[in-house]
C-alpha cells in the first residue's frame, strides 16, 4: 500500500501540522516554515469552525473564549481520524465534562447537540403505526410479549439528564434574547432524541422512560425493560406496576413515531 518513503514524509508532515512543538522535517528552510504555519492555522480553524457549527448552542452558553479553549483542547486530545470533519465532534461532550466539571449542563447540552446532528442524518424510515403494531402482535402470547424487541428510529437515543435541556435549548436559539432559565433541574429527567419527519427533535421524559428506551434501543426485550422499571428485587405487585408503566411508554413511543419495527 503506497511507498514507504512517501508514507513517512506524510506522517512527519501531519505530525508537524497537529503538534506545533514537533520538529519540522529535515532540510526545510524558512519558506517551508512559513507555509507550515498556514497549514497549522488552517487545521485549527477548520476544527474549531466545525465544532462551533455542530455545537452552536453550547458555544453560546459558555461564550466564545471558553468555547475556543475547549475546542482547541479537544482537537489536541482527540485529533480527528474519520473522513468527515463532523466526526471531530465525537466525544466532545466528554471533553466538556472534563473541562466544565462544575457545570454538568455544558456536557449534557453538547451531548444533545451531537445526538441531534446524528439523528438528522439517519436513514429515512417510515414509523410503525398503531395498526401495523396491532397486526404484528395480534397473535402474541405472554411469552411473545416478554421477548418482544422494538426497532426504534435509527440513531435515536436517550439518557438521564440533570440539565434543563428544553429551557436551555429555547433560550440559546440563534437570535433569542430572553433571560436564561435555570441551568439545572430540581430532579433528574430523561431525554429522548429522535426525528419528527426529517427534523431532529427531543422530548423530556421520566428518567425511567429514558432508561427503558436506551435499554431497548440497545437490544433489550420488552420483558427485560419491565424488570428494569420494576427495580431491584421486585415483588409481584411492583412487576405488575412496571408492566403497566411499560405499556404506557410503548403507547407513547408508537404515538411519537419512534418505533419502526418489531421482532418477536
Amino acid at each position: 500500500m503506497g511507498d514507504q518513503t512517501l508514507a513517512k514524509r506524510q506522517a512527519a508532515f501531519l505530525r508537524s501540522v497537529l503538534d506545533e512543538s514537533a520538529p519540522l522535517p529535515e532540510g526545510w528552510g524558512n519558506s517551508q516554515t512559513v507555509g507550515m504555519s498556514v497549514y497549522r492555522g488552517n487545521y485549527r480553524s477548520a476544527l474549531v469552525g466545525a465544532l462551533e457549527s455542530t455545537f452552536e448552542r453550547t458555544a453560546r452558553y459558555v461564550g466564545e473564549g471558553p468555547f475556543k479553549q475547549v475546542s482547541a483542547h479537544h482537537a489536541i486530545a482527540h485529533p480527528p481520524s474519520g473522513w468527515t470533519i463532523e466526526e471531530a465532534g465525537a466525544g466532545f461532550d466528554a471533553t466538556c465534562a472534563e473541562l466544565f466539571a462544575n457545570n454538568p449542563e455544558v456536557a449534557e447540552l453538547a451531548w444533545l447537540e451531537w445526538a441531534m446532528l446524528k439523528v438528522s442524518r439517519a436513514p429515512d424510515i417510515q414509523p410503525f403505526g398503531a395498526t401495523e403494531f396491532g397486526e404484528a402482535t395480534a397473535e402474541f402470547g405472554d411469552k411473545d410479549w416478554m421477548g418482544l424487541k422494538l426497532e426504534f428510529q435509527p440513531r435515536a437515543e436517550a439518557r438521564e439528564v440533570k440539565a434543563n435541556l428544553s429551557g436551555l435549548w429555547s433560550a440559546l436559539e440563534e437570535g433569542a434574547d430572553g433571560d436564561r432559565p435555570a441551568s439545572l433541574l430540581d430532579q433528574p429527567k430523561g431525554c429522548i432524541v429522535s426525528r419528527e419527519g426529517e427534523l431532529p427533535t427531543f422530548q423530556m421524559v421520566t428518567p425511567e422512560a429514558a432508561h427503558a428506551f436506551d435499554a431497548m434501543q440497545k437490544g433489550a426485550a420488552y420483558g427485560e425493560a419491565i424488570m428494569l422499571l420494576a427495580g431491584e428485587n421486585p415483588d409481584a405487585e411492583k412487576i405488575q406496576q412496571a408492566a403497566v408503566q411499560a405499556g404506557g411508554m410503548l403507547g407513547e413511543w408508537l404515538n411519537e413515531g419512534l418505533i419502526v419495527g418489531v421482532r418477536a
Binding site: 506524510q10 501540522v17 497537529l18 512559513v34 507555509g35 481520524s81 473522513w83 429515512d124 424510515i125 426525528r195
Partner: protein, 284 residues
Amino acid sequence: MEHQHSIAPFGGIGLGLRRTHYEDFLETDVPVDFVEVISENYMIEGGKQLRILEEVRAKHPVILHGVSMSIGSAGGLDSDHLGKLKLLEQRIDPLWVSDHLCWTRTSAHNSHDLLPMPLTEEALSAVCANIDHAQNALGRAMLFENPSSYLTFPEDEMSEWEFLSEMTRRTGCYLLLDVNNIYVSARNHGFSADDYLAGLPLDRVRQIHLAGHDPATKERPVIIDTHDRAVVDGVWDLYAKAIAMLPQPVATMIERDEDIPPLPELLTELDRARGIANEAMVPA
C-alpha cells in the same frame, strides 16, 4: 486504467450550492447551468439535506466535488469514503465527480485540509494508483483540481503542471482547473501562471473554479485561498487567458464558502464569467 468512460465537454456557468442559498434554489429558478456540491456534505444516510439535494438535482445538473478522497495518500484510499461516494453518485447521477490533487490524512489522523504533494515520481506513482482505484470503483473517469499551496518541498523533481500532465496521461483522468489556485500558488512560489497554463494538457480540462483569496501581508508573506470574498481582477484576467486557450467549452463556477453574500450578488459576479466565456467563444 480499466474504465473506458470519457467525459464529454459541458459548457456553462454555475455555482457552488451552499446552505444559505437552499431556499433560493428550491423556490426560484436560479439562472445557472449547473450546481456543484461538496460531496462529503451529502454522503449521509438520509434527512433533510439529502432531500434538498435531490430536489435541486431535479432542476439542475449537479457536480459532486469532494474534499476528502485524499488521492495523494501513500496509504491508499479509504474504502468507507469511496463506498459512500459511490452510493451518492448512484443516487444523484452527477455530471461528473471531482476531488483535489492533495492528501488529507495518514492512517492515523485526518487534517481535513488539502495538504500539498511532493512533486516527485514516487508521489506521482502513488497518486496514479489511487486514481485508478477510485475511477475503477466509481466506474467513471474523474476530475482532479490543482490545489493552492503554501510551501514546496526540497525534494520536488518536477513542476506542478508537469505532474498534472503526467497524471492525466497515465490515468485518463480530467482536470478541474482552479484559476485562483494557479494565481495563488504562482505568487507564493514564484512561478509563471502563463507557463503553468501553457504546460497543461488543456484538452483534459472540463471545469474551471474561480474564487477570492486573502492577500499576502508583511507578517504573512503568502496568499491564502479563502473563498471568502469576490474574485480579484488578476484572477479574472487569468481566467480570460485560460478560457481563450481551451480547445473545448468548459463549466465555469465561483466558489464561495465564507461570508457568503445574497444570491443576486453572486449571480452578478457570475455574469462577468459568462461575459468572458462568451467573448472567448466568438470566432476571431
